[in-house]
Symmetry: none
Subunit: 200 residues, 2 copies
DNA sequence: TCAAGGTAGTTGTCTAGTCATTTCGCAGGA
DNA sequence: TCCTGCGAAATGACTAGACAACTACCTTGA
């Protein structure tokens, strides 16, 4: 069977495991591939793919002959650390994605000029992306970068990372040189509200 | 067949592909899974594993229906598709930090209203932070959230994560998804998803 | 000339197994 | 008590298929 549904079976298992990992403590055993296969009514190879993906991420540890276990110190490193939307969602067992809304050049606003220390009349690369968690729009990101960074437009911002694009193109100084200033305006939208608590 | 030899078949194919990638230029096509399977006399699933491993490393790019190609930047390999600013900086041995510039309420712009699907006249929580790498300003982030999220202002955004603050306050619960879906479904004009189409 | 449609090729997902290798608990004996 | 060997269970590797979804290309028709 192909990918007839928006989510593949192994991805479903993956998400289920992710949630389990979150509620577990490092070292805890996870269901074996066979158990997962039986539980989700799939073949072992399909269940295996889910576990392997998590292992590749470092969330779980696989020990041949023994089993699969929650990886030691799953995370937790905030010292002034800002987790990315994607990372955050992923750890919550949700599928994070982003959709490119707009990308192009526009004149810089006065705020842009000041923040980026650009000369009057400069233009900026404007990029807008919609962030989704489990295909539900959760946030909108607007980014404005100096026109010198226009090269990032050629990259695949649908699925890739803006930071990565910048770094790959050498716009982030390896040494403290400030010739790169990116102004990234990020409008994070969180759909809150306390609707009736309904169990997931 | 099990791993009777020190090297598995898929690892052999992986090495062969690695060499090819090194001698190729970004964008070059690589043999298809079927070709690899025939060449190495293995099943397609085995050849596939080799290619997938390289794709996970970022060495090659896979495009459904098209083929597998040498990744744009063989030098710079990532494992995660989306790296956070902090993570990216840390890999470069730089210290990532952020400084709170501004936080308060302001009227939502029309863009905010549309993106977040807020009623006219709504206000948003605006948060501006400066991101630094080794104390060198690299980016400015402006976040706009619905006014209901105002509680996050009380948190220490200087050192903490915005996402974490939101989550801690229950603003990004899985529970809200149903509500969001309903809201989207009712908005028939929510066709902004098709608008963007921009190719590399 | 240009657009629509078909088609071959490629990746994505999945099945239902097999065999190899490793780990670990447990029974049984010294 | 110790420890040795056996076997169950788990992961690792692999097969030989299948269908689905997508892309690039080419043909056909207006």
């Amino acid at each position: 069977m192909g990918a007839r549904s928006p989510e593949a079976r192994y991805q479903e298992i993956e998400r289920w495991l992710r949630r389990r990992v979150l509620d577990a403590t490092p070292g805890d055993p996870l269901p074996s591939e066979s158990e997962l296969a039986a539980q989700f009514r799939v073949s072992r190879m399909t269940a295996r793919q889910a576990v392997q993906n998590l292992a590749a991420e470092g969330l779980v540890q696989r020990r041949r002959g023994a089993g699969t276990f929650v990886a030691p110190r799953p995370i937790h490193r905030h010292e002034g650390s800002l987790m990315s939307f994607t990372e955050d969602m992923r750890r919550r067992g949700m599928k994070a994605s982003s959709r490119l809304l707009e990308a192009g050049l526009r004149p810089a606003t006065t705020a842009d000029l000041e923040a980026l220390r650009l000369p009057d009349g400069a233009r900026v690369v404007a990029i807008s992306r919609l962030r989704l968690a489990d295909d539900v729009p959760l946030a909108i990101e607007h980014a404005a970068l100096p026109a010198e960074c226009a090269g990032v437009l050629a990259d695949d911002l649908e699925t890739g990372s803006l930071h990565e694009s910048l770094v790959a193109r050498g716009y982030v100084p390896a040494l403290s040189r400030a010739w790169i200033r990116a102004r990234i305006a990020s409008a994070t939208a969180a759909r809150l509200l306390e609707i009736p608590a309904r169990s997931a």
